[in-house]
Symmetry: C2
Subunit: 381 residues, 2 copies
């Protein structure tokens, strides 16, 4: 039995004000090709199919089309759960009909813990749920944290589990050991959002969604597939892939990763403005990637973002590399108090706040002349 | 071949600030019973399944449940199109899967005009579409109005039509001859929203949605089923029902109406406050109906809405029967100019604005005493 484990598609995602739908369509085409090549017995999607409870209609149409091609046209069973970004109720609509063609979508957690069986493997599908929801559903007042909730759910699953068969857990949760990035919204403070990985011991494989890196957790049989695409610059150095799981009848597994190549990468670029705008440099670059550019220049730059965008059209974020000391940071809040300072003194402070360089004597000489000239124009002009 | 024609469910509708979802669940239970009794070969829903493009999740769950019971559990084919209140794209999600169990949902108008065939009858499903959309879809620049659009669509349908078979048009439009009510949003001014009924001549039956009364159009074979429930007080006197269509192989039809009885009716109640609060009157009333109350009293009433709600908990709207003349209306805008008038004069004007009765001499005598007493208390107290 072979299945592909993926998660965190986040269809309808906006990144720095740009809808990723076309990028997502591109990468999903690759995914469909990959499914065609691998011919798995199932595709498992571990939550966050959409990025929000009410996704834009383009995302709705894209998901419909992709799932239809995989499930109906390619006749591949799909096992999916909703994540914290999905609306369990909205995603659930129609799921009763999908079963006919072996598309098993669990949108809302219910009291029915019967697994989905595909080619002899039991898939236990547990959509993302808040501890309060699980407490109410199971009538168990001792449930307070995500760990409590998952523990109670796994207990329920175990009651009906046939130990002679292979078992896969499909879920969307923050399992302890993972590293978070910006695009995974923090769920809670102080660890109550975390779930201990020991809970998944009864399963031969645990297919997780929620964290966006395939390296988020180090474990032989518990795994995040990672997201389809990089969804924030904190993911810039992450691999993006899906996991191919080959499972034997006794539940033993073999894992492989297959990487996905986006139309445009999301990455950081560092250097001096002049350097980045030099053809000998940028001709070796994929200039239409989504970029966060960090400029090393000190001193004033005139409209650097527009200059950069003439070469790199998809600069999403621009930063100056400023090594501010604490003292410097404080001084910026003092300016309003310093009304009696001269223009030169005020400018010196401004320069110190905005750059990492020294305001040398020659710079001071130039500025004094500028101030003098401006003063003359104001009073004489 | 027998089918049930219904439309305008408007799930998720808010009426005067109240979600109708529970009312809708109640009436849909009746509808399901009716389907069980009639055992039709199909259920036809002519648009506006939801009241808005993003309906509340309760409405999504209700629609899912009702359609599943009819289509899968009762094994009844469903033919449905989206209306102007539905989001064509959102409603379409999953529709490719539904066909397996003979649930034919046409959310978005496409260039494919192949009819759905159920028991030898061709159902031509045309969801609501703006003229601009149809113009673009058909590449026909002469399309400007809804009538133009429908005419072009029907021409396309006719190209492929087998004249020896029975044909049903299923659509959502404002077909000429209909009467509008408050809860059908006006689509356009000056008639460009209307579609001439002569266009539907090629069809043996035309199952329409959009107008909420089954009497909206008088025609042997073109019919609005009407909405499931009364959705505004302008529909208070309308019958609410579904239409049972029995169609022979030659396309000849026999129509029957089956009425639906809501848990709480929506109606108007008129009278004097005292009368309406009299047990001998209200004991014969269904006091928990949704009511618009029109009071005939003249003169001041203290907090009539709360008094009425103690007897009639679902008063949604209260009106005073005031026959304002134009002159009276104008006078209310003058008050601010009349700063030099006496208290008595000001009150006389106020009384005239607010009531239809005369401010008689005896009323004037009473008020003069009240004003005199108040003045004494202010200056002496």
């Amino acid at each position: 039995m072979k299945f592909i484990h993926t998660a965190d598609w986040h269809l309808g995602k906006l990144v720095h004000g740009i809808y990723m739908t076309e990028e997502q369509r591109y990468i999903l085409e690759q995914f469909i090709e990959l499914v065609e090549e691998e011919k798995p017995d199932a595709v498992v999607i571990a939550g966050d199919l959409y990025d929000r409870s009410v996704p834009p209609t383009e995302a709705v149409e894209l998901l419909d089309e992709v799932l239809y091609r995989i499930n109906v046209e390619m006749n591949t069973p799909i096992v999916a759960v909703s994540g914290n970004h999905d609306s369990a109720e909205r995603l659930s609509f129609g799921s009763s009909w999908y079963k006919h063609s072996h598309f098993y979508l669990k949108g809302k957690l219910t009291g029915d813990f019967t697994p989905v069986k595909v080619n002899g493997v039991n898939f236990h599908c547990i959509p993302y749920a808040e501890p309060g929801t699980v407490r109410q559903l199971l009538g168990d007042d001792s449930i307070h944290s995500h760990h409590d909730a998952m523990s109670a759910i796994v207990n329920r699953i175990q009651e009906e589990m046939n130990p002679d068969e292979p078992h896969v857990f499909v879920g969307h949760a923050f399992v302890l050991g993972g590293k978070t990035t910006d695009s995974e919204r923090t769920l809670s403070v102080g660890g109550s959002g975390c779930v201990g990985s020991d809970l998944f011991e009864p399963f031969h494989y645990t297919a997780l969604g929620h964290l966006h890196s395939p390296d988020a957790i180090k474990h032989d049989s518990i795994r995040y597939s990672g997201s389809l695409l990089k969804y924030s610059f904190s993911e810039a150095s992450q691999r993006k892939s899906v996991t191919i799981v080959e499972m034997k009848e006794n539940g033993s597994i073999e894992l492989r990763e297959r990487s996905l190549r986006p139309k445009q990468d999301m990455r950081e670029l560092k250097g001096h403005l002049e350097e980045l705008l030099d053809p000998s440099f940028y001709q070796s670059q994929k200039v239409d990637d989504y970029l966060k550019i960090i400029l090393h220049d000190e001193g004033t730059l005139i409209d650097p973002i527009n200059k950069l965008r003439q070469v790199y059209p998809n600069v999403l974020h621009l930063e100056r590399k400023l090594e501010l000391t604490d003292a410097k940071k404080k001084s910026s809040f003092k300016v309003v108090e310093d009304k009696k300072k001269s223009e030169l003194e005020l400018f010196k402070e401004f320069y110190a706040d905005m750059t990492t360089g020294d305001f040398t004597q020659s710079k001071e000489d130039v500025l004094e002349k500028v101030i003098e000239k401006a003063r003359q124009e104001v009073f004489e002009g």
